[in-house]
C-alpha cells in the first residue's frame, strides 16, 4: 500500500484557473517526498487537497489508504500538517496550544498535558512554553507548528514550505527534526521552493510547474538525466550581450543546448572541462569579453531550469549563479 497515492488529481478554481491540472503520485511509506515548485505552481493546492482541506475537482487521492474526499476523518487521524505561514493562535501560550490540540485529538486533560510537555522538549521550546505565541520568533513559531502537527503520532507528515523565510540556523533545526522523524518511520511530504532543502531531505523529488508534474525521481536520477556538465558564462557589457553570446555558443561543436538566464548563458555540454577552452576562444573571436565562467555538475536547479525554462525563484542562501 502506498502512503500517498493520486491519479489525475486536479483542482480548478472558478472560472477556469487550473491550479492543479491532473497529477499522479505514488509515494511509498517511510519516504521523504520533496515537492518542488515556484509560488503559484500548485504545490499548496495539492497539499490542501491531500490533507482534506480542499475538495478536488477531478481525479482521486488516497492518503494512508483512505480516500481524501469520502473518508476525510480517517485521513485526518493519520496525518500531521504544518501549513505554510504557521497558523497559530497568538494569544495562547505554546503549552496551551499544544495541550488544546492534544485534547482535540481525543486525549484526556492529563495525557494531553504530558504529550505537550514531551513535544515542547522535542522542538526545544520548553523554556518558552509559558510565553504567548505572539512573542515567539518566526523560527520558534514554525517549531511550535511542527510540534502541533505531531501531537497524535501521525503516520504521514505534510509540511508546506516549512522553512520559507527562516534564518539558516532555524532552517537547520527544522531539517534535523524532519530527518529524525523520518528515521522513526514517518512518511514526509514536503513542499519547498528551496532546492537545497529538497536535495538534503528528499529521497524522491517531483518538480511542479504550472499545475503539472514535469519531472520526478530521486535527486541523483534527476541530475543524471541531464547527462551533461553545466558551464555558466557571464559575458561583460551591455544588455543583450548574453543573447549574442548564446547565439555564438550554439555554434560550438555538437551544437549543445544553450540557455540565457538573466545576464548569464548556460551551456549544457558533456565533458565540460574540455569545453571551456573552445567556449572562451569562440567568444573572444566574436569580440565578447567574459567576466565569469564556471563549470559544475548538474544541480537540481539545472534540472528545474531544463524542465521549466526558468530558475526557481528563491534559494535559502540566495547564492546561485
Amino acid at each position: 500500500m502506498y502512503a500517498i497515492q493520486a491519479e489525475q488529481l486536479a483542482r480548478t478554481f472558478k472560472p477556469d484557473i487550473h491550479a492543479v491540472a491532473g497529477i499522479d503520485l505514488a509515494i511509498e511509506p517511510g519516504k521523504v517526498f520533496g515537492f518542488l515548485g515556484q509560488n503559484g505552481s500548485g504545490k499548496t493546492t495539492t497539499v490542501r487537497m491531500l490533507t482534506t482541506l480542499l475538495r478536488p475537482t477531478g481525479g482521486w487521492a488516497r492518503v494512508a489508504g483512505f480516500d481524501v474526499t469520502s473518508n476525510g476523518g480517517a485521513v485526518r487521524q493519520r496525518i500531521g500538517v504544518a501549513l505554510q505561514e504557521a497558523g497559530l493562535d497568538e494569544v495562547q501560550t505554546g503549552r496551551e496550544l499544544l495541550t488544546l490540540h492534544a485534547q482535540l485529538f481525543g486525549m484526556g486533560r492529563r495525557q494531553a498535558r504530558e504529550r505537550a510537555e514531551e513535544l515542547l522538549a522535542i522542538v526545544d521550546l520548553t523554556e518558552a512554553a509559558d510565553r504567548r505565541v505572539a512573542g515567539y520568533s518566526g523560527g520558534m513559531q514554525r517549531r511550535l507548528d511542527l510540534a502541533a502537527a505531531l501531537v497524535h503520532h501521525p503516520e504521514i507528515l505534510f509540511l508546506d514550505e516549512p522553512t520559507t523565510g527562516l534564518d539558516p540556523i532555524s532552517r537547520e533545526a527544522i531539517w534535523r527534526y524532519v530527518a529524525d522523524l523520518n528515521r522513526q518511520g514517518v512518511t514526509v511530504f514536503l513542499t519547498t521552493q528551496y532546492l537545497e532543502e529538497a536535495d538534503r531531505l528528499a529521497g524522491e523529488v517531483a518538480i511542479m510547474d504550472a499545475g503539472t508534474i514535469v519531472a520526478q525521481g530521486s535527486p541523483e536520477e534527476l541530475k543524471a538525466s541531464i547527462g551533461t556538465d553545466v558551464v555558466t558564462v557571464r559575458p561583460a557589457g551591455h544588455d543583450g550581450v548574453a543573447l549574442k553570446a548564446a547565439e555564438t555558443l550554439r555554434r560550438l561543436e555538437g551544437s549543445p543546448e544553450v540557455r540565457v538566464v538573466g545576464d548569464s548563458v548556460v551551456v549544457y555540454i558533456p565533458e565540460g572541462a574540455r569545453a571551456i577552452a573552445p567556449i572562451v576562444l569562440l567568444l573572444t573571436e566574436s569580440g565578447i569579453e567574459i567576466t565569469d565562467i564556471t563549470l559544475a555538475r548538474p544541480t537540481l536547479d539545472d534540472v528545474f531550469l531544463r524542465k521549466t525554462g526558468h530558475h526557481i525563484e528563491a534559494t535559502p542562501t540566495g547564492a546561485h549563479a
Partner: protein, 252 residues
C-alpha cells in the same frame, strides 16, 4: 458527546482569550452602563408625565442588557481572525466535529454575555431598578441573555464563515443598532407614531425587550415571556440556517 466536550474545550480557549484582553470586556461593560446612566439621568424625571413609566431605571435596564449582549458577541470576529491567521485550518485538521469549531466560540459569547448582564443587573438593582419577579426572575434574565447571545452571535458567525472578512462581520453590528432602536428602547411602543409602531411590532427585539422588562417591572407575565422566547427561537432559526449554509458553501 465529542461535540459537547470539544465545544467546551474550545469555549475555554476563547474565554482565555478575553481574560487576556480585559480592556475589551471593560469596554463592553462600560458602553451599556454609560448609556444606561445617561438615558436614565436625562429622561427619568419626565418619563411619568411623558409616557406613564414611573420606574424608568427599571425600564432601561433590559436595554443595557441587550447592548451588552450585542457588544460581547465577538465569535464572528474571532473566527475571521482564526481564518486569516490560518489557525482555523489547523483546528479543522483535528478530528473534532466541525460544528464544535463554531459552537465553542458561540458558547464563549454566551458566557461573557451572562457575566456582563449579571453585573448590569446588580448595578440596576443598586440604582433602584428593582426586580419585581424576584431572584428567580433575575436568573431567568440570565437565561434570556445566554439564549439571545447564542441566537444573535450566529449572524456574525455565518458571515465570518462565508466571507472570512472582518468588514462583513462589522455589518452585524450595523444590523443590531436599528433593531434595538426600532424597538421600544426609550419609550413604550404605545406612544410611537404609526410607522415606527409598525416596525417595532414586526421587530423580534421588541418582544425580547418587553419580556425582559416585564420581569423587572411587573413580575411574572407568562405570555410576555413566551413571546420573548419565541422571538429568540425565531432569530436562532434564521441564524442557525445561515451558519449551516455558510459552512456548507464556504469558499476555501
Amino acid at each position: 458527546m465529542r461535540l459537547f466536550r470539544d465545544s467546551g474545550i474550545l469555549m475555554l480557549r476563547s474565554l482565555r482569550e478575553s481574560m487576556r484582553q480585559p480592556a475589551i470586556e471593560i469596554g463592553n461593560l462600560f458602553i451599556p452602563l454609560f448609556f444606561f446612566a445617561v438615558t436614565v439621568g436625562a429622561i427619568s424625571s419626565i418619563s411619568e408625565q411623558a409616557f406613564g413609566v414611573s420606574n424608568f431605571t427599571g425600564f432601561q435596564l433590559p436595554v443595557a442588557m441587550l447592548q451588552a449582549i450585542a457588544g460581547s458577541a465577538v465569535a464572528g470576529a474571532g473566527i475571521v481572525n482564526d481564518i486569516q491567521k490560518g489557525y482555523f485550518d489547523k483546528l479543522a485538521l483535528t478530528p473534532t466535529p466541525r460544528p464544535a469549531l463554531v459552537l465553542g466560540r458561540m458558547l464563549a459569547d454566551a458566557v461573557r454575555a451572562v457575566v456582563l448582564v449579571g453585573v448590569i443587573i446588580a448595578v440596576g438593582i443598586l440604582t433602584g431598578a428593582g426586580m419585581e419577579s424576584g431572584p428567580l426572575g433575575a436568573l431567568l434574565l440570565l437565561v434570556i441573555a445566554a439564549a439571545f447571545s447564542l441566537s444573535y452571535t450566529g449572524f456574525a458567525v455565518s458571515l465570518a464563515l462565508k466571507t472570512g472578512s472582518n468588514q462583513a462581520v462589522q455589518l452585524s453590528f450595523l444590523l443590531f443598532f436599528p433593531l434595538l432602536f426600532l424597538a421600544p428602547a426609550f419609550a413604550p411602543k404605545e406612544v410611537f407614531s404609526g410607522w415606527l409602531e409598525f416596525l417595532a411590532t414586526i421587530n423580534p427585539v421588541t418582544y425580547i425587550l418587553e419580556g425582559s422588562r416585564s420581569l423587572v417591572l411587573n413580575g411574572w407575565e407568562p405570555d410576555r415571556l413566551l413571546k420573548a422566547f419565541a422571538a429568540i427561537a425565531g432569530i436562532a432559526a434564521v441564524t442557525i440556517s445561515m451558519t449551516v449554509w455558510a459552512y456548507r458553501t464556504r469558499k476555501v
